[in-house]
Symmetry: C2
Subunit: 699 residues, 2 copies
């Protein structure tokens, strides 16, 4: 299932392009790419294809790609839906390796369209062509001037190229985002919209860009995905190559998800599961378009802070406070300046706030040199990031230039530091700062949030990758719903600590089992036909002697017989009664897109009322399990509260990881697992599953 | 304690201004206001005051205000700290009614400065002058061209006036915000920075603007406040006059609060308490500067949606999904279009999404008339708000103008509807839309969030004001820590349902009390010297007979005597044992700034681990109590979970309100109250306080 990115190269970097359905009439979708490629000065060959034309826009035109006497990397299909299959088959005959199909009218219209689309995809696969679309706005490679799109944004495509790629499942959103990027002065390198994803999908785009040396960050707009493991593979490649995926995932709400499914047809999946996958693969999920661009711009700059230590330098005390709040919220460390440096700044500006934020006050308006010296002092300290707020100082040419050269020197002398300049500025000044390696933001809060994002991404990139080998002996599990005993036994065989237990069929056997297991014990009826054991008196707790156990066995069997005369009774389960600890719930659900997803949460109000649970795709290692635990409020409870001891987090993480490996190894046999409760005992004493239900695959 | 806004008129709208310390030398703080007033064409008289000068910047200059032979409304003090008190006293002699003191070097430097500042404030008060500052950047009234400030932003003050006022405790932040407003094309009407707040403070500014007919919304930057009731009065005036206060409150985090206190000296108060006050008075708390301006701009437009019903019209399906998510998040109702209208749009654009979001697709690029007709159909329906996403369509002059006139007609025909236009645009087009009453945003998400804010504000404004009269007989409470019995009795006397109980001193009396109260009962030791009753065996639960009660009494007294031989034992408390319901915690804490604050939360993990509690300043009515309950996760539990019945919310709200009135009526006598637990029984069965500790004021 590995993505072969080399097959995508003709799509991202074609050296020759045929435009099937080319036109010179402005407004036609076959005219746009031709005009963009010509105006954009694409260096490769362009072949307009249109029956009955010999020349289009000054280029020789062909009636069919088969007439072209040269190899063709990419074909753009700007033809009506009815002509698309034939146009495709001619291109396949010609050996074209990449197709970009603008044409709409396929899967988005219903079953018939989906059928034709699937056949085209299959044809392309057999013919060795990667097909983008149909129903997409195409692809662009700014560096090599490939504008294989009909989005009007490329009529004004920027001549500069950056390190930020943009991949969008929605064409119109992609077009809008490219316009917004232009307005912001953000230079892209690649732009891709995937439309109906008959063949090439978002994951392909991410995987290719993960390997592209010019790409530093990938802005991604996503509505859903059909192939979960493929997406995970692509995300893992991005993470391994330290390329942040900055994600705008829509369809978070029910109304949104409904709109998305009517818009793009059948992209299933709950947003909770996507959220879990993003956390697992360190995808940065942006909440707003602003944040999406801010984090993208910051990452495209290529500098990441080595630590959380952040200096805040400001001409306004108030803005200093504002930045400090934001920094703390984003996990940055607003560590105080050392005493000597504080004294040095106090000497320069007697009323300065010197701790951090470092507030040089309005005095610098009169004497910019004071600010320059403060910058020097602060950057000599071991802050990994510096955010400076200049107010409107830089709007005046003289201080603007002085500050520019001061920060330019800082960036040159400290290539390891991240510097963000904020406040009112000009586009020219911002561009100059950017070329020095400084980030610029008007809004100091957005700058701090972006630095916080860089810090989080750097930590994610540095985290050791799982070293575990998820090997585990494969069991053959029964089908349908397993009994409590079968469920516990299957989990125990997978190395998950379960409560010591035995199934007995007589009072005498029960007493013997209790003696062997140790008191106190619990007894529970064992029957495939009785679901709610307590309701019929089928449970006895806190039994402390052989007599009590014998009595309880007889009583439970009698009650079960009375309550459910037709039920099959397999005896009773005798189990050690374990108390002391925090009750948590572990579970597995088989997701149609991502396979087995492991769930964790704290029993009681947190799970039942607040739905405070976390998910991960199986398998994963113990460190991932620890992150999963930390995401829930359960982590606060397990830390120990009100004198209660801390729970055994190590054992819990180990158990979660084992459950994940078990679920992954038996993905084909498991529909769901519910282990409720698992008792997390005090640190060092382990965890123990007290009850479990495993539901096997139904077929 | 009522704020007299008339005394503030000379500060906000002076007809004559003396500048003490005036100068013509650019860069001097005494030069700036003079230049701004002249360049800004202030219509009133300007009197430069500077010893030894006869003319400054073409105006007659005076050595002292006492030489000026005309009444003076406002004096600006641009003099060193050492000269400020004398300058002030001359202005008081002259009868100047408003002072704006730029001068720094007072309370922010320490005790000596604070002493001088306090004396000046006292002098001003006696002399009938309202004093702004010291250590502030002044005040501006754009309409009347008053620029009594030295912030460089007023060198380029806009000639247009809007309906948005800006009040900031921080001068530099205020200056930055005015610059940012200019950059955004947002017109302000007033701008005020309050500095050290020796006399005029933030609350004064809010109260004046609440009464100002030209002001529709007040952007506020706040670090803290010293006079809680005064702030509450000002916020209430704003609410009553339907003027949203859009708040950027900094010092949310510990680091931020520390920076704020070092920056402005001693503005105490926990951010939790401020948050509660903001919720109580329907202050809109912005999380980012962008949101601050967005909501401000939206409110300044003057249109509020009559309901949550919102139509989303888009040229991009993807953006439609994005907007739908945001709308749901912000409490808006993305109700589907009626069938007939859907059919009408389908007829125009066969592939359109017609439910809501209404996705007219890229087809409108070719035929803008389709979009115009769609707009007409949608606006004829009963949506209170319409958010339209144009992509980059409006960047092309022809569709830009067509859309402008289409929306202009909508705004004119439906003055009750809120319309927001989003997507790539131009400043000219945005201004034209704005003058038609349309909101404009580049980012569709920000537009939806702003509409959500308008909806929330409108709901807040429409909410009936408390009609209750917080009358309650005043009790004389004991000092220090009250016993459980004293605490329960004081609360019962205030109308708070408490558990039926009696204090007994013999086993026989206990048995009699139990019989009277009804079984089961609990017994607890009563002693001022025993705090943790359970620990010494001082509690017996679930007693169901006279014998059990007698035994329990003797056992408890014996255990108490053994465990605490020197303790005073006052007997036992016999109380009805009430079970069934949800345990909540009610409390009161006396806040140094805002007086008694009432607390509510759910017992157990929610309060202890998640600190999920809500606060309100006392007194408040039942409907406010209901909002307070709704803010916590407890509300979800009280709704009834897993078959448990819903709790008696009415009784709980009534009890919270009574506790608030009690706390307010006895504010001078109460340090804190902790009622833990209060049992919320199923709907109709009321609530009952089971245990309580009231700590009286220590002196």
């Amino acid at each position: 299932m590995s993505i072969d990115v080399e097959t995508l190269r003709p799509l991202f970097a074609p050296r020759s392009i045929a435009i099937v359905g080319a036109s010179a009439t402005p407004g036609k979708i076959g005219a746009a790419p031709l005009s963009f490629l010509q105006k954009g000065e694409f260096a490769g060959a362009i072949y307009p294809v249109s029956s009955g034309k010999t020349e289009i826009a000054g280029l020789k035109a062909f009636s069919s790609v088969l007439e072209i006497d040269a190899p063709i990397d990419m074909a753009i299909f700007a033809v009506p839906a009815s002509q698309a299959p034939i146009a495709l088959s001619e291109c396949l005959k010609k050996g074209v390796r990449a197709g970009v199909m603008f044409t709409s009218g396929f899967a988005e219209l219903g079953e018939e369209g989906a059928r034709i689309q699937a056949r085209m995809a299959e044809d392309a696969r057999r013919g060795g062509m990667r097909l983008l679309g149909p129903n997409c706005l195409g692809i662009a490679n700014y560096r090599e001037r490939v504008f294989a799109s009909f989005s009007p944004v490329f009529a004004r495509a920027s001549g500069t190229t950056g390190h930020m790629a943009l991949v969008s499942q929605s064409g119109a959103f992609g077009g809008y985002a490219a316009t917004a990027a232009q307005d912001l002065g953000v230079a892209l390198n690649y732009w891709m919209t995937t439309g109906n994803e008959a063949d090439v999908d978002l994951a392909d785009g991410l995987a290719f860009l993960a390997e592209d040396p010019q790409t530093r960050v990938i802005l991604t707009y996503m509505e859903g995905c059909r192939n979960g493991p493929k997406l995970c593979e692509a995300l893992e490649r991005c993470r391994q190559n330290r390329k942040p995926v900055v994600m705008l995932k829509v369809g978070r709400t029910e109304v949104g998800a409904e709109a998305a499914s009517s818009h793009t047809a059948s992209l299933a999946g709950s947003d909770n599961i996507y959220g879990a996958i993003f956390r697992q693969y360190d995808v940065y999920r942006a909440e707003t378009i602003d944040e999406w661009f801010d984090v993208g711009r910051a990452a495209a700059n290529g500098r990441y802070p080595a630590s959380a230590k952040t200096a805040l330098v400001t001409v306004s005390g108030g803005v200093g406070v504002f930045m400090a709040d934001e920094a703390v919220d984003r996990g940055l460390d607003v560590a105080p300046l050392d005493e000597a440096s504080q004294a040095a700044i106090k000497k320069l500006v007697p009323f300065a706030g010197t701790r951090n934020p470092i507030d040089v006050t309005g005095q610098v308006v009169a004497d910019i040199g004071l600010f320059e010296k403060t910058i020097e002092t602060v950057t000599a300290c071991d802050y990994a990031s510096i955010v400076a707020f200049h107010g409107a100082l830089a709007r005046n040419p003289v201080p603007g230039q002085k500050l520019l050269s001061a920060w330019s020197e800082v960036c040159a002398r400290h290539p390891d530091k991240v510097v963000a300049i904020t406040g009112a500025s000009t586009r020219e000044l911002d561009d100059a700062h950017a070329s020095n390696g400084c980030l610029t933001f008007q809004d100091p809060g957005r700058a701090v949030r972006a630095i916080g994002a860089l810090h989080r991404l750097r930590e994610a990139f540095d985290r050791p990758r799982p070293a575990f080998s998820p090997e585990m002996a494969r069991q053959t599990l029964p089908r349908g719903t397993l009994s409590e005993v079968e469920s516990l036994d299957a989990l125990a065989a997978a190395g998950i600590p379960t409560v010591p237990h035995r199934v007995v069929t007589s009072a005498e056997e029960a007493a013997r089992a209790a003696r062997d297991l140790g008191y106190p014990v619990v007894l529970k009826i064992v029957s495939p036909d009785i679901l709610h054991k307590s309701d019929i008196g089928g449970v006895a707790l806190s039994l402390t002697s052989e007599d009590e156990v014998r009595d309880a066995f007889d009583r439970i069997m009698a009650k079960a017989r009375a309550a459910a005369p037709n039920a099959r009774l397999d005896g009773c389960l005798v189990a050690t009664m374990i108390r002391g600890g925090v009750e948590v719930i572990l579970g597995v659900q088989s997701d149609p897109t991502f396979g087995p997803m492991v769930m964790f949460g704290l029993g009681g109000v947190l799970v039942e009322v607040l739905h405070d649970v976390s998910f991960r795709a199986a398998p994963f290692d113990e460190s991932e399990a620890r992150r999963m635990i930390a995401e829930t409020k359960a982590a606060l409870v397990l830390k120990g509260t009100r004198g209660a001891p801390a729970g055994d987090l190590e054992a819990l993480a180990r158990t979660l990881s084992r459950l994940a490996v078990f679920a992954s190894r038996h993905a084909d046999q498991i529909k769901s697992i519910d282990i409720n409760p698992v008792l997390v005992r005090p640190a060092g004493q382990g965890v123990v599953a007290l009850d479990a239900v495993l539901i096997g695959a139904s077929d």
